[in-house]
Amino acid sequence: MTTLRLGYVPLIDAAPLIVAQELGFAAEEGLRLDLVRLGAWAQARDMLGAGMIEAAHMLVPMPVGQALGLGPSLPPMDLVMFLSHGGQVVAVNRDLEQRLRDRGHDFAFNDARAAGAALRQAVTGRLRIGVPFHFSTQSELVRHWLASCGLAASMLDLVTVPPPMMADALARGEVEAICVGEPWASVSVDRGLAALLLPGTAIWASPPEKGLVLLRDFADAREQEAGALMRAVWRAGRWLDEEGHHGTAAEIISRPAYLDLPPELVERGLTGRMTVSARGEIRETPGFVSFNEGAASFPWKSLAALFAQRLALAHGLDPQDAGVRAMGHFRTDLYRRHLRPAGAPLPGASQRIEGALSADRTVAAERGSMILRADGFFDGMTFDPAAVG
């Protein structure tokens, strides 16, 4: 039995790592996972860089930022698979909630255009939105959504707030809205501080959220262990997507050693059955978070290029060069090699046009066919990695 140290930040999308250990998927592959709870995303990056953990749960844009030289100079890091899509929520403080209701907004929690239009009317002056990290899917979701709804970038302040501190930041008035992974938006609702406005999936049907990131040296030199870890995590993700498992999963990841929160709070995000306001209104969002279905874990290089282009534009780098550099860090080759034996469906290509699927689609796979999850943006945006530059 080999022990691997894995770093995670307490969020529902750490579930594949926790479940891989707790339900024996790791043991089946001859691994014991030593799960280290981390306080900051920067900590995940630094501990991985220093070799103090073998793998990290990371925001998908983080390894892209590293690839572009926007972080500290640490050894090269590769994203070998996605851990989750979705799981993010946009929430507004009670004051903004009231102003939205006054304008007739219904908090249906499914219509990004309606919510964006209502928000544009309700906001007076600049809007301060808390996001978990500079390089995060949350930042990109919020920027894209509000720009498309006519809220100029100059009207927005994106402020970094660590997820467990989101509720406090709302309470102190440091931010008026937040975009954060569950369960931290629900925590704010339960503390009477916020109402949930939109799930991330209403903006982008399949927003890649977390990835499993390894040092390139580890992925190459300890290939067997890397493969074993990927298979264990992939099987845990498949288990987590089963509807009947959400309750058990919530119980496991809520334990004091992990998220240390009430299971009923944690369960909301896993089931997509969200309490959106202090009035107790409930909204069902199927596919609120997914771990495995529809090839969710396949690390499309085109997604590396999409995030790279956005970061390049924000930091004055060449988008084409950034795309090429980032794509080299999304290791579809390792995914294919290590997950083929586990029976993971493998797409014929490693990049595609992002945002092109308005519904789930059956496509040809390496063997037979496979279903790809819908990935459309609410405004119909598409991204073609070949057309950058």
């Binding site: 981390l38 900051a40 920067a42 630094d46 501990m47 103090m52 978990p132 406090d168």
Partner: protein, 195 residues
């Protein structure tokens, strides 16, 4: 003699912040400030314009500083990234000690090293102290709970102290558990039964 540096230590626990600050002052005529309150951290650091910021590697507020490090333009005298350029071994030692350091771009390595060395030493001492304290406290708690369980057994079964202790030890061995755990269960059960 080079000009003194402004060093900011972000640390909510005063018992920890003080010795670190003292250690840093010993390395030179530095101006060392402690920020304990996490709210408004980005603004405070931006206002102080420190040369070096030291913060626990696991402190969630690090992610706020990361944003600051990236956002500051060249004219704003950036508190740039991490101590990474100078010395790989030093970086690793810092990360292992649980420190992250943000250093103004262009600050020479020979000025950073003594500061980090001092911080690393203090972090280590503190961590060791805290671990020892926790261990002592846990041992004390365990002894108390075993004493209570022993008293319960003595009363309920009319045993003397040695026999009660033996009974607890045997139960622990039979169940493959620690004596303190068995004692805890016994005390809890007795509480529920109203004894």
């Amino acid at each position: 003699m080079s000009k003194p540096l402004l060093i900011v230590v972000v640390e909510p626990d005063p018992d920890r912040a003080q010795p670190i600050a003292e250690g840093l002052r010993d390395t030179g005529q530095h101006d060392v400030r402690i920020i304990a309150e996490q709210s408004g951290l980005a603004r405070k650091v931006a206002e102080l314009r420190p040369d070096v910021v030291l913060i626990d590697i696991a402190n969630p507020s690090r992610d706020v500083l990361e944003e600051l490090a990236l956002a500051s333009g060249p004219s704003e005298r950036p508190v740039a990234m991490f101590v990474d350029r100078s010395d790989e071994q030093l970086t690793r030692a810092a990360i292992e000690a649980g420190i992250s350091a943000y250093v103004v771009d262009g600050l020479r390595a020979e000025r950073i090293k003594p500061i980090l060395d001092a911080a690393i030493a203090r972090f280590h001492i503190f961590q060791q102290m805290r671990a020892e304290l926790a261990a002592t406290r846990a041992a004390l708690e365990e002894r108390k709970i075993i004493d209570r369980a022993k008293a319960l057994l003595m009363k309920a079964r009319g045993l003397d102290e040695e026999a009660a202790y033996g009974l607890l030890r045997k139960a622990a061995m039979d169940q493959g558990k620690r004596m303190a755990d068995i004692a805890q269960q016994l005390v809890m059960a007795a509480g529920l039964l109203g004894r």
